[in-house]
Amino acid sequence: MNRDPAASSNQPANDEWTIVIGLEVHVQLLTNSKLFCGCVNRFNPDQPNEQTCPVCLGLPGALPVMNRKAFQLSLKTALALDCQIAEFTKWDRKQYYYPDLPKAYQISQYDLPFSHDGFLDVELGDQPDQAQRIRIIRAHLEEDAGKNIHDESGRGRDSQIDLNRCGTPLLEIVSHPDIRSAAQARKYLEELKLLLTYLGVSDCNMQEGSLRCDANVNLHIPRGDEVVETPIVEIKNLNSFRGVELALEYEAQRQWREWQSTERRLGDVAKVTRGWDAERGVTFAQRGKEEASDYRYFPDPDLVPVTVSAEQIADISDTLGERPAARRRRLMSEFELNRDSARVIIDQGAEFAGYFEDVCGVCGAGPLTANWLTQDVLRVLHETKARITDFPLSADVLGELLTRIAEGQITTNSAREVFNSLIDARQQSGPASPEDIGRLIQERGLAIVSDQATIQPVIDAILAENPQAVSDFQNGKQGAVGPLIGKAMQHIKGADPKTVRQMLIDAMTG
């Protein structure tokens, strides 16, 4: 379901260049505690520096100890990305001075990351049958830094530092430069986010910074027999999917203009870092802090190397469950859904997909269930800002309702009336049971009436009251039957419209 106009840039905008993109994604892991100490790992900007201890404050003498849970979540993610897992991995210090980094080094992984060489298949909206495989170079675990808060009032007040985030487990996932459009970059991120949330390893909340992205981008420009590459630019700290897409589109145009005016190629200048200004919609050159830095990586002597056994890998693989891409395919084959419905359902998360399967298990009607979930159920969830786990109708109840539709016992409109009344009544009467469906249909007289003996008197009366319509019909105006069906339905709630229509036609032609 891709209604985004930007999807049109799946293809290079022109024959003059191809954009080449690699993404570095930083994901905060959902652990209870930080990566190397026992402090709570929680987004908490309102109480700065409350979630800190000597270890994450980098106080003299404090020592890090690895959080096994964080490492396991990382393994799980890497396995879900089909990465190779290193038997032996270690921790390195990445050294640089910055006020939000109290040890003046970040504990990270340099030459022996715990995982490498995986991939993520990304489907594109307008090429539904062709998934693009984006290869993953490596995924490694590291600690997040704190946050500098600068005075933006222009009154030159002191900068402040919040170290609550310092030491949060951060998974860095580095892709090959396999991405060929801004829209594809966005799709990759969306698919990655979906995978991570399915795995339960991260909440991927971009507003809170639990998923952040840097993009490396340049253009490949065919010139006769050769392909010229423009200098690679790293765009830092892209903090929304839309921002990634817009920044890459902007950057492609900018690099094209720059190439036309300077003809500078890859290697002519040092790697440039640019920021994204979402307000103005432009990338801008950042000061050259990064370029000249030598991080002087070396193995952290405070931490012991980590070995991973085949059994550990097998155990974690067993917990992976069905990944979203596979589940999407299964919904299409097993429940006869079209691609858009399957995507919408999977995109809502594992619980929603589970609810879908449960409802289908009761009513047996895949496309019908998909329609109801993607329209009525999602609407209610949006209106009430609720999650599917809080939805007032259990899968049994909705399944029972949809069964009635599937079996022709009630109309879709009647079902919606029942649905809405159950939703409205949820406050007063507690959870609904499948029996409530039958009761409501009974009470409201919503059962489809196809008994001709019941309908015939109504038909006769309507024809008598509407001679003009009858004569119109008999003069060949087929459309005249419609309003008559409506009138009949008003008289007999739950009348089967097909039966009514046929009886009307029979009576007028007879």
């Binding site: 404050l57 003299p60 003498g61 109290p102 530092i161 002087r296 070396f298």
Partner: protein, 488 residues
């Protein structure tokens, strides 16, 4: 017997019999400090009030018949590089002059749990970088045996405090010999445990892969008792090892039958002073007279140890000390232009010359393009040195030799010649690089009357062997009973 001349065991007996209280013992130590520390300079910080209060608590509990820890009422001095939540922890640096840690090092927690009386914090070379305490930004420390000489370093304050009778026990740290060399220079027992035996949590790091906390004492049994109290696994230190701590004092009086002593031929070669060589040979002869056999061994890569050490230790130091940027704690310059200038000005003003030298050495060795040639190569040499020891210990129980090439040298002797100072670490550095335990035992005096130590090294976690061998020597000699005479 004077309370300040007694050893830990004697003091415990006195307190258990009621012949002296912990307050008496503590007060005697405080009086000794008050009388002589202006001259010696062993302590950076003396916490008389806390010490006496703790001694009173111990006395009260002893009177009440409560169970007491293994160091109950014993005064202990602590090198000012271990974090104490109730005393400043300065590392003898201007950078941390006003630093009060919010937490206790694991060693401090264990001392408190053992009911020790923590007297105060002792002087050291700034951030433990040095062999003479001359790199302290606070004050010089003088050798109680000859106040014109160094007590050794970097744990010189702890060694001098014990030698001066200011406390029977002290805690030091040893990164390249910083417990053993001052123990040798001051005529006390000093033991560097196996790497991982004592938690480094709260030990302010100089070189993390080499640093190890250990005991100094005026006799072997005191050192054993103190080690017993501070050793053990700590989940807060990932390099702390989960190996049971034996009872170090249980078999202390049982001589080791047929002790096999390895004598590295590389130890008795050029550079070793005749005085020291003679004392060490005589001490080995004492052990031989007790049935020990000596075996000539070789540690062929030992000659590269100083070079390897002075790449590895500064590399780690350059990283460990980077956190002293004045942002969150520690010294910050009053005026600066911008962020980078704040770092430069603050660190420039608050770190001493030797610390800067090692930070620069280490920064260079870890830099892109030099890493392989320096840091990585030093790690390879380290592995070879470890293999040398592994091979040697296949045939012997302990390795014996000198601690330092000379007895205590004159203050100022090496001030302008750091390289010569580095080279005096030759005999001690190997144990740090290999992670094995080593001890310095009082083993004689030079013609000038200066103490000389015998160094014994053993396999990982064989501290008990070192202590029992040390006790064998101690039973046959009187070096450990000599006490320095201080001018009043």
């Amino acid at each position: 017997m004077s309370l300040t001349a007694a050893n830990a065991g004697q003091l415990l007996s006195l307190m258990e019999c009621g012949d002296a209280s912990a307050v008496d013992v503590t007060q005697a130590c405080l009086d000794r400090i008050a009388a002589h520390d202006d001259q010696i300079g062993a302590f950076i910080h003396v916490d008389a009030a806390h010490a006496l209060a703790q001694a009173e608590r111990v006395d009260a509990r002893r009177t009440a018949g409560a169970s007491l820890g293994s160091l109950a009422g014993l005064p202990v001095a602590v090198k000012d590089i271990l974090c104490t939540h109730d005393q400043p922890t300065t590392c003898a640096s201007r950078m941390l002059r006003d630093f009060h840690p919010p937490y206790d090092a694991d060693t401090i927690s264990r001392l408190r749990a053992a009911d020790a009386v923590i007297l105060g914090k002792t002087n050291l070379d700034e951030f433990a970088m040095g062999s003479s305490v001359e790199n302290s930004a606070m004050q010089p420390t003088r050798n109680p045996w000859d106040i014109t000489r160094t007590p050794g370093g970097s744990s010189g304050g702890s060694a001098a405090a014990v030698a001066a009778g200011m406390c029977p026990l002290a805690v030091g740290t040893d990164t390249g010999g910083s417990i053993r060399q001052p123990a040798s220079f001051c005529g006390v027992v000093g033991l560097k445990p196996t790497y991982g035996r004592v938690s480094r949590y709260g030990l302010i790091a100089y070189a993390s892969s080499l640093d190890q906390t250990g005991p100094l004492a005026n006799d072997v049994r005191g050192a054993a008792r103190l080690l017993q109290a501070i050793a053990g696994h700590d989940p807060r230190d990932a390099t702390s090892v989960q190996v049971d701590v034996p009872d170090y004092t249980a078999r202390l009086e049982t001589p080791i039958a047929d002790l096999r002593i390895g004598i590295p031929r590389e130890y008795f070669s050029e550079g070793l002073s005749d005085d020291v060589a003679e004392c060490v040979r005589e001490a080995i002869d004492v052990l031989r007279s007790l049935g020990a056999q000596t075996v000539d061994i070789s540690l062929p890569h030992l000659r590269y140890s100083v070079a390897a050490y002075y790449l590895i230790a500064p590399s780690e130091a350059s990283s460990n000390l980077a956190r002293y940027d004045g942002v969150h704690y520690g010294f910050r310059a009053d005026t600066f232009d911008d962020m980078i200038d704040m770092y430069c000005t603050g660190r420039g003003a608050a770190l001493g010359a030797e610390v800067k030298r090692r930070i620069m050495l280490g920064t260079y060795a870890l830099s892109a393009g030099y890493y392989d040639a320096y840091y990585l190569k030093a790690l390879r040499v380290r592995r070879l040195i470890r293999q040398d020891f592994d091979r040697a210990f296949e045939a012997v129980d302990v390795i014996a030799g000198p601690v330092a090439p000379t007895a205590a040298f004159k203050l100022g002797q090496f001030v302008d010649d750091p390289l010569s100072m580095y080279l005096t670490d030759i005999y001690t550095i190997g144990a740090n690089l290999a992670g094995i335990p080593g001890v310095s035992l009082p083993a004689g005096v030079t013609t000038d009357g200066l103490p000389v130590g015998l160094q014994l090294l053993a396999t990982p976690f064989a501290e008990e062997t070192l202590l029992r061998a040390g006790r064998m020597l101690e039973r046959e000699t009187t070096w450990h009973t000599r006490r320095a005479t201080l001018e009043s």
